[in-house]
Symmetry: C2
Subunit: 294 residues, 2 copies
Amino acid sequence: MAPKDMVETYRLTIRPNPEDPRLTEAVSGIDQDGRPTSISVVTERPLTLFLNSREIVTMMTIGDFPEYLAVGYLVNQNMLKAGDQVLAVEYDDDIDTVVVRTAHETDFEDKLKKKTLTSGCAQGTVFGDMMERFDEIDLAKGPGLPASTLQRLLKEIGTTPSLYLKAGAIHGCALCRGEEVLLYMEDVGRHNAVDKIAGYMFLEGMQNGEMDASDLVLYTTGRLTSEMVIKTVQMGIPVLVSRSGFTAWGVDLARQAGLTLVGRAKGKRFQVLSGAERIVFDKKADHSDGERAE
Amino acid sequence: MAPKDMVETYRLTIRPNPEDPRLTEAVSGIDQDGRPTSISVVTERPLTLFLNSREIVTMMTIGDFPEYLAVGYLVNQNMLKAGDQVLAVEYDDDIDTVVVRTAHETDFEDKLKKKTLTSGCAQGTVFGDMMERFDEIDLAKGPGLPASTLQRLLKEIGTTPSLYLKAGAIHGCALCRGEEVLLYMEDVGRHNAVDKIAGYMFLEGMQNGEMDASDLVLYTTGRLTSEMVIKTVQMGIPVLVSRSGFTAWGVDLARQAGLTLVGRAKGKRFQVLSGAERIVFDKKADHSDGERAE
């Protein structure tokens, strides 16, 4: 499938599809009193990624959006860069492979030599230069984010039908702009979910300056670890929000990059440990009319 | 440090130490109303593992028990086997390295050639033969596990002072035997936590047949993914319990190996999707006198 076709294949606004029969299956068992039960369980299948003729990695994924996952993985590992031209992304569900074809060979081989296991999930293997662009990025500017907007986004994400609500055991990640939830991806590893968002942004040209990133907000169900902060900064997104907590190194890196880091975000409550000056305490809460406070 | 010394260095029963100043730090920020707050955040630091003279991997860890983490990582990747003799485990906190020295060189180099990213956390990189011993193991035998025992273990784990209760953003893993919680490890990645338990078991001889494994129970805060099931089976532990949910492949693998898989275990409630015949519904709940029902 050529990248340009994908725009038409998927809706521009993506939500989880808990009714997709490929993503969950009913499994029978018993409960604590010995009664028979049947519960929905998320699927988990291998996907082997090739960049041109080179095998890169095998990932475990729920299997939706393999093209976005493949491209986003390469983008977040710095194996694909803004200038690289993706000619095609070919997914073969018979053999669980996806091939990303680029116009020119990339310099990824050196990157394969060094790997670091991080405290994130799934794609927790970062290669030697995952941080090569990190120091160049300063996100500490741009418009303010009203607390009421953040609270409304949290409410929308939390009430959207999802695989998490249906089956649990899954991580979610959402890309928001202003008042709107643009994309909401889920996967068995939260790094798959964020990589699918990165792949979408790359293929739709959103990382090439065609989209103003200054009012983007990335939400994750996972913890705010160093790896999650690095990926968010490299995607150029100025605000990262999680219902989970922080790690100390994640906070340090966010402060270096001017990233606004919001954790323990549940209901109307949240904690900001980096970039708090971006938050506008407008006190409008849920009865806001939605206008931006700058 | 030689392995035999470690028995004396650490208590035989290990619990989290939320008061250890190396494991958390206080970070200041603001809350949803703009009020200043200070919250405890877990640390996350690199640890580079060497097997003899060969660099294997760099892990992100909270940093307690680096020796157990190092050995357990190698055990769970099948880079160390029951017969291998560990001469020394040398941790250097100045340069964040740990070196595991064995009596004979191991055959790990081939294992480094193929890696699979899994849906687990942190050490989600499994090498080509992580499952090489899986098919040989059948856990579908041994004594029954009373539901009341399981419920008491869950209560003890949930009420033990921990980094999770203090700071959140951490995974925990506990090894239980009969009515007793033997070990309770925490780390920023849950696979670090389970690897620390595997390292403890290896260094203390618990994997060499010196300990009856038939009444062991492994508890994890993380999801019951394929990787978690594979590790538990290879550790010879017949029961895996989580407060989180299941993935479909995790259930499949557990059924193949005869592993009792208990998920969504909170309070007195749980769901069993594999090996349910081991559970004895004794209805004694919390007022049990602790005797085993067979």
